[in-house]
Structures are given as C-alpha cells and as structure tokens.
C-alpha cells in the first residue's frame, strides 16, 4: 500500500505548522474571522451548530491499520469517542475545539493523515472505487491516478481560490462504484483497442440546487496527459466562471451556460497552449506510485473454501455472504463489506472501539488494509474465503455484521440539522425511523436492492438526487418537511431522481416508504429492482399510492 515518503511527510508537517500559526493569529486577534474562515476550511475545520467539526481526508478511501487506530484515538481523545464516515469517504469529528485542532493535525500527520483541502473553494480530496486493487473487473488501480492528482492539487498555487469547491472522482473498473457522473470532473479509465490506458473525461456533474450529470468532453485522453488536461479544465473554470452569485459558481453552471461544445472547445484550446511536460508526471514517478499500490503477494488458495461453505448452515451468516461478501480478483479471496448501518443507529457512525476492532481484523485477515465506501460503510478488501466466518463472528458482537449492503436499510444520510449549520431539517432521525421499520432482515432482502438517500438540505451531501428513493429535508415555515423523489442512481445507470409530489412531515415518512415498497412489489416483474420498476412504470402508480393514502 502507498506510503508517504520523507518529502510528503515534510509537506504535512509544514502544513500543520502553518495552520498552528494561523490559528494562533486568529486567537490573538491578528486576523479576522472573515480572513481565517477560508484558511480553517482548507484544513477541514468547520464551525457547526454545537462545536467545530473536523473533516479528515481519507485519500482514495484507503487506510492502513495504524491510521485507523489513530483516527479512533483522536476521536476518543479530542471528541466524544465516535466519528462519522461521509459520502466523500472522509471522516468527520463533530465535537472539536479550535484550540485542539493544531495538535490533532500533528497527531494525524504522524501517520500520514491530514485534513488538507477537505473543504473550501479548492480541489477537494479525490475519491475512487472502494474496491480498487481488489475487484476482478478492474482495468488499472485507480488510486495510482488519484495519488498523482493528490500531489498535483495539493497547495496548488493557481487553484486554491476557485469560484467554488471542485470535486473529482475516478473509476477504473467497468462498473462505476464511485458515482463519477455526479462530480465536477468524473474520470473513467479504460483501455483503448491498442491497449493504451485512456480516460473518458466528464465535466460539470453535481448535485445541489441545480443537479446535473457530468457530460463527456473527451472520450479518449491518454492517461499520462491527465494532469495537464485537468489544468486546462481548471484554468478555463477559474477564469470564466461567474463570481457574483454563490449559487452559480460551480463548474456545472459554466458548462451549462457555455454549452458543452463551447466549453470543450475552450478547454482544448487552453490545453494546446499548456506546456504539458511541466505538469504531467514523468513515467518514472507514475511507476513509483504504481509499485507502491501493489498488494502483498496473495497466498494461493483453493477457489472454494469448505470452512466458508459449511458456515453457511447458519442462515444469518448465509445472508451476510449474500449481501456483504463480493468476488475478489484472486481465487479463494473475497471483498468483505462492513455495514455501518445498524437499523436504528446513525448511518455512517463508528465508535473508537469499532474502529479499533476493524483495524485488528484488517491486520489479521486483510493485509492491514481498510477501505471506506462512499455508501458510508467500511470494506476489508483482501480476505481469504476461509477467514470470512471468523471475521463475521468478531464483527457480530460489535454491531458490525448487519447483512444489508444495498438494501433498504443501507441508508445514506448526511448529518443534517442535528449538526450542520447549512441544514434545513434533520436527516438522521428519518433514516433511523425508516431503518427500524424495515429492520426485519428477511423482509429487507425480499424487497431487494433499494437505495435510500437522505439530505438535510439542497446541498445534497446525502446524494438524494441519486437515490432510488431520495429524501430531501426542507424548511416549511420553521418545521421539518421532506420531499420524496424516485428513480435516481449514481452508478452506471446514472440518472437524477424525479420529485414525487408535495413534501410531507417527518413522522409520515416511514408510512410513505412502506407504500412505495408495496407498490413496487405489486408492479415488479421477475428480477426487477425497485429502480427498474420505477423507471419502467414511471412515477404515476407510486404517486397515486402515496398521495391517495395520505389523504
């Protein structure tokens, strides 16, 4: 797994010292809050409802066990003993004090972790497929390219004061597990017919007030030219975007305003003038990064494991294998999802004890590696099939063995009004009430794949536009109301969800979801997921059922 060398480490130390200096200047009154705010945001520090919140970057969603244990320790020492994993594969700590923040950043830097550019109008922490390096359908390890972009985007002199935030995601497998079309830049790595690595570059996706799916501006970008091409995209954005209306400053608005053809023309013109050799990483550096991501050698295993098969006699374990265990590229190995979605608990939250346990299991069974999925779950990427029963047995008493990946209880939710200053309504209690309603695992599995996404405001951190059922919290005369939408997806079949009808109160939501599910079961044809049925029938039958029963 990739490790920072002395140069990367010195960058983190310098960054941490810089922030300590800036915080001291704020505390002494030398700089104003207005001047300090963008500086703390670029170090992941928000002021939220009850305290400061620190958003720690987990580049490419990959952690070694030393890092995970350090996160657990920071949460226990400086927070209230838990953290919240987000849809951008970051970890948020919600009870941080400004005066502790420099020490925390030092403690993180010791294990090569940081909060650099996890907020602010800059290039944010870049995300990738959570199964990178482990999945069989992969063309290349996307983290090689994410690391190249991490270096290029860190402390970028020209692009640290962009019109708005800028998010990039990469997929290097056939199946998109990183929701790349909902990003400012989505990159899909493929191999051309002559065997060269090439990116499809998509620009201008995003959620929020005006959601768009990213549009392709280049079908085939030679992979080695990625950074200079991104430089061209960023320069056009930085120079051309509006700066007079915060709601119109994302790149999606620029692309929509110029039109994708004109935007593409400008990027290509800019790229033609850019000195690529100054920006694109040399092959030697790419090779160094690539070598660092090579997993340890895999002990040869038989393709099937008698221990694993025998354990399936336990129906609960069998369900766990159906939902949470996925094929690995190496025979006899598996990818194991760890659900942070116990019905009734806060989606995406993990206690320090749970983080420590997952670190122990990763050391014992997964080459010391843990992944964060944007669905707010954890992943053990390299597990021998024969070890899955032992892992399951260890996870279960810790509340980490819920077998519900992609089911109705695997709900994505932002922190909402319980924590966030931007929110209009709470998201967590809504998720809790739905998950409790569908807590029967047998029923949830009969309903099948069904993504529910809840956001507490239009900024869409809960990706409600991408839910088969999306729920958006709105403020209706000071009361929390929720607007339902259907048919969204962030994957290969990406589409934005469509609004079902008028918003309803929080307590009405579980019944409404129940009605949607019943309607789906009545209409579904063989093998259809909820999403497929909605897309086939349209919203009408669902709308009629929900609003008829509400009358």
């Amino acid at each position: 797994m990739y490790r920072y060398d002395s140069l990367d480490k010195e960058m983190l130390t310098d960054r941490s010292n810089e922030f300590r200096h800036q915080a001291a200047r704020r505390l002494s009154g030398e700089i104003t809050e207005d001047q300090f705010k963008p500086l703390r945001l670029m170090n992941g520090l928000y002021l939220q409802l009850h305290a400061y919140m620190l958003r720690i970057a987990i580049p490419f969603g990959t952690l070694n066990t030393k890092q995970l244990r350090r996160l657990a320790w920071v949460a226990k020492t400086y927070d209230k003993g838990y953290g919240h994993f987000t849809t951008r594969t970051n970890l948020q700590l919600h009870w941080i004090k400004l005066r502790d923040a420099p020490d925390i950043l030092d403690a993180l830097a010791e294990v090569d972790l940081h909060a650099i550019q996890t907020s602010g109008n800059c290039i944010r922490n870049i995300t990738a497929d959570p199964y990178a390096g482990a999945t069989a359908d992969e063309i290349d390890d996307p983290r090689v390219w994410v690391e190249a972009m991490r270096q290029w985007s860190t402390n970028h002199p020209e692009y640290s004061y962009l019109p708005r935030k800028f998010k990039i995601a990469v997929t290097a497998a056939e199946k998109d597990r990183a929701a790349i079309r909902s990003y400012d830049v989505g990159l899909h790595l493929r191999r051309t017919r002559d065997g060269e690595l090439s990116f499809e570059v998509m620009v201008g996706g995003g959620q929020g007030r005006t959601p768009y799916l990213a549009k392709t501006i280049r079908e085939h970008l030679p992979a080695g030219r990625l950074l200079s091409y991104l430089d061209a995209v960023l320069r056009v954005y930085n120079r051309q975007s509006r700066r007079d209306n915060i709601h119109k400053q994302r790149i999606k608005i620029l692309v929509a305003t110029l039109g994708v053809e004109e935007f593409t023309r400008q990027v290509e013109a800019e790229w033609a003038l850019i000195e690529g050799a100054d920006i694109d990483l040399p092959d030697t550096e790419l090779a160094r990064i690539r070598a660092a991501f090579m997993p340890c050698a895999f002990d040869p295993q038989p393709a099937s494991s008698p221990v694993f098969e025998a354990a399936k006699a336990d129906p609960e374990f069998a369900r766990f294998t159906r939902r949470n265990v996925h094929p690995h590229k190496v025979p006899g190995y598996a990818i194991v999802d760890i659900s942070l979605k116990v019905p009734g608990e806060t989606p995406g939250d993990a206690s320090s004890e749970q983080m420590d346990l997952v670190a122990d299991l990763a050391d014992a069974y997964s080459q010391g590696e843990v992944r964060i999925n944007y669905t707010q779950n954890l992943v053990l990427p390299h597990v021998k099939l024969a070890d899955v029963p032992a892992i399951y047995a260890a996870l279960k008493p810790a509340g980490l063995a819920t077998a519900n990946m992609d089911l109705i209880t695997d709900i994505i939710a932002c922190p909402g009004l319980d924590y966030c200053t931007l929110a209009n309504a709470r998201a967590i209690p809504v998720a809790q009430s739905i998950a409790k309603r569908f807590a029967d695992p047998e029923r949830a599995e009969q309903i099948g794949d069904l993504k529910i996404n809840i956001s507490g405001c239009i900024n869409a951190c809960g990706h409600h536009h991408l839910g088969a059922i999306g729920i958006l919290g709105v403020d209706k005369k000071g009361e929390e109301y929720y607007q339902l939408s259907l048919g969204g997806s962030g994957g290969d079949d990406a589409e934005l969800a469509k609004i079902l009808g008028p918003a309803m109160s929080g307590p009405a939501i579980p019944d409404a979801i129940e009605t949607l599910v019943e309607t789906y079961i009545v209409h579904r044809k063989d093998g259809e997921r909820f999403l497929d049925t909605v897309r086939r029938t349209g919203l009408q039958p669902f709308k009629e059922a929900v609003y008829a029963s509400a009358d």
């Binding site: 990739y2 490790r3 060398d5 002395s6 140069l7 990367d8 010195e10 960058m11 310098d14 960054r15 010292n17 810089e18 800036q22 700089i31 001047q35 963008p38 500086l39 109008n121 270096q151 290029w152 860190t154 402390n155 970028h156 002199p157 020209e158 692009y159 640290s160 004061y161 962009l162 019109p163 320069r235 930085n238 120079r239 700066r243 003038l273 000195e275 100054d278 920006i279 990483l281 040399p282 030697t284 550096e285 160094r288 070598a291 660092a292």
Partner: protein, 182 residues
C-alpha cells in the same frame, strides 16, 4: 510615499512606490510615473508610452491579460488587483502573463492582498506586493517560504517533489542519500 514589498529570489525588501495610480475619472498628472487602467491604456496608451515616463497598467480580475500582449514590452509594471482575497482569478492572469506571454517585468499584487496568500502569489509569478494587512517584508518572505516542498511546477523556479524524488533516487539529491523514495 507609499511602500511596496519586493521579492527577488530569497531576498525581500521594502521600497518606495514611485508610481501614481490614475483612476479613469482623474486626469493624468503632467509628469511622473503612472499606472493606468486597461481602458485608459487602450485609449491613451500610445501617447502615454511615448511621453518619456514609466507607465504601468492595473488589471481587474475580469480583465484578460491577453489584451496586453501588444504593449507588454513597453510596460514598466503590471498590477493585478485582488478585488477580494477569495477571488482567485489574478493567479491565472499571472500564470498566463509569465508562462504564455513571457512577461519578465515587475508584477504587483494589489488590493485585498494578505500574507496567507503569499506562497500562492509568489509561485504564480508576482514579485511585488502591496499587503493590505500591514505585513513586513520579513513576514512576507517567511510566509512565502513556509513549505520546504512543492508538488507542482509554477512560475517560480522551484522544482516539484517528483523531481526531488528522482534526484534522490539517482543519488543527486541533497541531504537525503539514505532516504530513497518508497
């Protein structure tokens, strides 16, 4: 007389600003070095540039630096105004001026210019500063050199981390023969 911080390589100094900025609504003084807007440069540029004094121009964030290409050799100084420190357009303007238009002269940051942005400004090619926060030359220099390493090539001559790594790996690196990259 107003003062400026100038950076030359590893040195910073405070110098008197000998130029007077002339707003569009004001008349150009009879003598002395002046800085004018892009609009005035377009309309009165030829006369000004042949009047035997030094002439500079101040560009706003929305002005295109490409418009200066014709006059670049004759300009004594270019000022890029930061309307707000959050408005990052002048960084791109500076990069294009230095990298693409090959401007070699004095490039000033004026407006909402704060020490926290010194590193980015220096790296984008600015070499003169009118800080709005009262920073001294020493403070400005320290802020501009807070990082031992940079990850990208920019308008300054600093080598990025990937070059340092390659030098270390090939034995040409300074100070770290024992720490070859991963």
């Amino acid at each position: 007389m107003p003062q400026l911080i100038k950076i030359e390589g590893e040195r910073a100094s405070t110098v008197d600003d000998l130029f007077t900025f002339v707003a569009d609504e004001d008349a150009v003084p009879a003598a002395g070095d002046v800085i004018v807007t892009l609009a005035r440069l377009s309309s009165e540029g030829d006369a000004l540039l042949s009047s035997g004094r030094r002439v500079g121009v101040r560009l706003q964030p929305s002005d295109a630096v490409e418009d200066l290409a014709y006059d670049l050799g004759a300009l004594a100084v270019i000022e890029l105004a930061f309307a707000k420190f959050r408005d990052g357009r002048p960084y791109s303007s500076a990069r294009v001026l230095r990298g693409r238009l090959n401007y070699q002269g004095e490039l000033r940051a004026v407006g909402d210019v704060l020490r926290e942005q010194a590193l980015h400004m220096v790296r984008c090619g600015f070499n003169a500063f009118e800080p709005a926060d009262g920073s001294t030359a020493e403070q400005w220099l320290a802020a501009a050199h807070r990082y031992r390493h940079v990850y990208q090539r920019a308008a300054d001559d600093r080598e990025p981390v990937f070059v340092e790594r390659a030098q270390i790996a090939s034995g040409l690196g300074h100070n770290r023969p024992d720490e070859v990259g991963v």
